[in-house]
Symmetry: C2
Subunit: 231 residues, 2 copies
């Protein structure tokens, strides 16, 4: 959030974004879609988490991805290999997705696919631990990732993201033995900011903890159109 | 950079910031101070780099730090242990320092210390790989850090930071053996975006590569007031 424009402008900006987010969510609700907003610093592992999620759940849930990236389609191309709808949004110089950009993604979803057949839309935000937390895009829940390599103090230093998160994945825990870091300290710093957030410790490399993430994800999906009793 | 306000507003915002940055730089020039803007994602190792730099160079250069953080003084407190002037700036909800905030820091520097006795001001920006690259604060050079844990593709995905950087430190290289990552690929991706940037590979843990960083830093200091022939 830029401080160099005045408070009234900031309120208008967030208000307009919130209206757009509510409109997007109304579409998702109409189609029975659950939408999650996935956020973290660059390189915390959002895309590999989506890869693992699509590989494991795509036979059980009908999933689409809205993929936010500043300029490239590198992440979108990685996810297209899983044969699910992947809608790329290039944000240009913007450091986050906003509800207007995601509305464009929803329009594409509606034009190219049948949204009534989709259970879950995963929105991968731009890698940034600050602004994405302030701009709702129409999600039903916010998922934040924090890599153990980022350090124990980040929940305290970037509190808005951790306050807003409904679910936090502490990622790359396979690297803990090689770092001077205390996983318990990370968790207690998160709890200090947000006592209620659901926390999972995971590694995409060893796949430790991912089963709990998949289970949590399944509990978020309100209208499961294609699932058998797979969970 | 937020896209939801219009282009004219954006141009005004950047123009006003640039004017402020030029004003700050004029102050630094008047006092014979070299100013560097240190930027990266959260947790790439900016603060530990500053700790190592202060520990090694504080007897050779007169250094002050302007420490940008959203809400806490955690980093400022780490650096105060080195008995150098540390001026904290809390950005609140802002995802980057701007020239107006740093002007406040310069004012404090002027009030509490004698800026004519300072060789080097290191500005540690808010952890964010996007917006800080667009908001000059009055620096003479930009230093970016990229941790190997963030992945090979980040220079391509967040190009503005890598285009703008005069010096790039690839950090945490002691972790390379535990990652599925190619250091050469990181370097070639950076070169694709910015052929001229000076690149060092370093580890604050093993201290590999830091001597080259210290040497580069010393070459940036234009008016060395207290140095003997230490470099």
């Amino acid at each position: 959030m830029h401080q160099t424009y005045n408070a009234a402008m900031e309120i208008n900006l967030l208000h307009a974004n919130q209206e757009g987010a509510d409109h997007n969510r109304a579409h998702f609700d109409e189609w029975g879609i659950t939408c999650l907003n996935i956020m973290s610093s660059p390189g915390a592992g959002k895309t590999v988490l989506l890869e693992k999620t699509l590989a494991t759940l795509q036979d059980k849930l009908s999933i689409a991805v809205i993929e936010g990236d500043m300029t490239t389609e590198l992440d979108a191309n990685r996810l297209r290999q899983y044969n699910v709808p992947v809608i790329p949004i290039n944000t240009g110089r913007s450091c986050h997705l906003d509800s207007k950009m995601v509305a464009g993604g929803i329009h594409t979803l509606q034009q190219k696919y049948n949204p009534n057949n989709i259970d879950l839309v995963l929105v991968e935000n731009v890698g940034n631990l600050v602004c994405p937390a302030e701009f709702e895009v129409g999600e039903h829940a916010k998922v934040a990732l924090l890599s153990v390599t980022e350090g124990e103090d980040k929940p305290l230093k970037y509190p808005v993201m951790f306050q807003q998160a409904d679910c936090l994945l502490i990622t790359k825990i396979d690297l803990v033995p090689y770092l001077n870091i205390d996983l318990e300290r990370i968790v207690s710093n998160v709890r200090q900011i947000n006592p209620d957030v659901t926390i999972f410790s995971v590694s995409a490399t060893t796949e430790v903890g991912l089963d709990l993430w998949f289970y949590w994800l399944s509990t978020q999906v309100k209208h499961r159109k294609y699932t058998s009793s797979c969970f």
